[in-house]
Assembly symmetry: C2
Homo-oligomer: 358 residues x 2
């Protein structure tokens, strides 16, 4: 299982609608009014999108507080990841991380250098700095998936200087950034034209709850943004993603509400999960939680949760994680309570079956 969200594969295991804890989508759904906006714009399917996406670029620039010429757009952020990988001499990854980084590097036949995160899933900076070389593309999740931690601001600025000195390039994949506490804004860290060796990627997929829309975006120096645009397929972003991207960033109340909702549910889930025996719950700033199981394999856990109508994400397919690790999304209170209930049931099973192998 390379990705979360493949509900169809598991649906038959449960007689009812599965709740998908394997993909990490804003439980509040897309911004209100978006559906109506798209309905009004359905005729745009019959004309080519603006090949330069002029209005969409302006909207993204306003949201990210950068200039129009800094804007990156993609058919999902994964298209942008692919293009940066395409330009790299070598790809440096900290593992575990999103599987597409490595997959795209393999497809483009790039050398890959993997550096494990430390046991607490913070960056192993000395090893990282020692290994960076000219032409490297360093891809870091900020916060990282599946581990959930963000790089703090001081580390990030220091990291950038080291990347620059090495003649490398830093790609920050911030698909989950808006879910994090608002300690700092990574993009304003790099909004100055001096920062030519970094790009920041965001996406409509997770925070705006629009995985079907396919809209990735981000910012980089004007030179890098132009270079990426030259490599892209024409009309890579569909007309409805174009319309949605000119709408979703406007509703500041939705942004705040979503962030606050996730914070409350994250605090709740972490505090309720922590006392459960047999779970090692890792800290997170994102909208998902990585959990190590003392008594069960990921496959046993998957089967257990499926019986409860819940799809979780087994994590051994992430290089650097073993088959006792799972990831769960943070959802709405009703479903989070179902998840907690199922975890408690799993633990009672362990007691009953006397599986004491820790």
């Amino acid at each position: 299982m390379k990705h979360g969200g493949d509900l169809l594969r598991y649906q038959e295991a449960y007689d009812g609608e599965l709740v998908d804890f394997s993909s990490n989508i804003n439980p509040l759904g897309p911004p209100p009014g978006l559906k109506e906006k798209i309905m009004e714009g359905l005729d745009s399917l019959s004309v080519y999108p603006d090949i330069h996406y002029r209005a969409l670029r302006r909207s993204v620039a306003d949201y990210l507080q950068c200039d129009v010429q800094n804007v990156l757009l993609g058919n999902g952020s994964v298209e942008l990841i692919d293009l940066f990988v395409f330009l790299a001499k070598r790809v440096v990854l900290c593992i575990p991380s999103f599987s597409e980084y490595e997959l795209r590097a393999q497809i483009h036949q790039k050398r890959i250098h993997r550096i494990p995160y430390k046991d607490d899933f913070t960056l192993d900076l000395p090893t990282l700095y020692r290994n960076l070389k000219e032409g490297d593309l360093l891809i870091l999740g900020n916060p990282n998936n599946p581990t959930g931690l963000r790089i703090n601001k001081e580390t990030l600025l220091d990291l950038y200087e080291k990347v620059k000195q090495a003649g490398a390039f830093l790609l920050l994949d911030e698909a989950f950034f808006e879910f994090c506490p608002r300690d700092y804004d990574s993009i304003s860290c790099f909004s100055d034209d001096r920062y030519a060796q970094v790009a920041v990627l965001r996406a409509a997929t997770k925070f705006f709850a629009l995985p079907g829309l396919r809209l990735g975006y981000g910012c980089a120096s004007p030179e890098v943004a132009e270079q990426i645009k030259r490599l892209q397929l024409p009309w890579s972003i569909n007309a409805l993603a174009d319309i949605a991207g000119r709408f979703i960033f406007e509703d500041k109340a939705y942004l705040q509400r979503s962030r606050a909702y996730i914070k409350k549910e994250r605090d709740y889930l972490l505090s309720e999960l922590s006392p459960i025996q047999g779970l090692h719950v890792f800290p997170t700033q994102a909208n998902f939680i990585l959990i190590k199981l003392d008594h069960w394999s990921e496959e046993e856990a998957l089967a257990h949760f499926l019986q409860e109508g819940l799809l979780i994400r087994p994590c051994s397919s992430f290089p650097g994680l073993d088959s006792r690790t799972i990831r769960v999304a943070i959802k709405d209170r009703v479903n989070n309570d179902r998840l907690l209930h199922a975890f408690k049931k799993l633990e009672r099973k362990a007691g009953g079956e006397n599986k004491g192998y820790t």
Copy 2:
């Protein structure tokens, strides 16, 4: 101007709504009922599309009368073109042809071998056969854009044998195939499993009038289809393209109506254009017409038609065509008559200005 359809760039030149003769879209618009189907499915934007597009593949397979494992899917057919180019050793093109073939080859740093079409825009087969080598990807528009001619069935089957003998691969870009007279079906030519060195591409863009949707599709051998799928970005096709692709092929009456409509308007335009002095009108089986101008450059023509509220396609950006060549789409009768009127006006201008340089 690399592509047609960049209306925004020209809109300010005309005080009114420009009619776009530069992009070749079915004038009947998308199949009836599609809008409602998409409206019903808008909630699917909030879930990941099926990562395997199982239902969409079945729908395409039914339409193309191939097996599910033969089906190719892309974010527009241009994504599929890009992936085939990526796999090629060398790219062989007959020029003039769609500019993306060469552009994608440049981006993937592939060697390019160009073979000009003959003066009547049929294939120069002896030169083509002499030049084909192992690992070549031969890309042919069928019918070809911007010239409008299709390869006849006997030539196509013979061509395939030569491609196979050379150890090359044939990519037929059939974005405009459904507009052609129904003499033969290229896909049924290659539906047998023996045909492992050919792929046929189609698209929702032109015939189904859905350029904003981004749905390309096609068929190839199961091995080739699997190889392409492995290279693709996950969720490359958006959720609404997924929904549309499960609907648009059903309406056989729409297919027939569109084909008949284009045939009638093609015959009408060709017969009305031919007597106009100063135009050389090339024959076409597609929904666009290539025209060589005796008295005007493409830029003069572009300016003239813009004054009339019509956007045409200058063609000197196609390698192999000069700056006296333009392309116009076949549209509905009212607009076709506006186009004819504007051509006649252009010719009268030539008389008045006494531009006798042929």
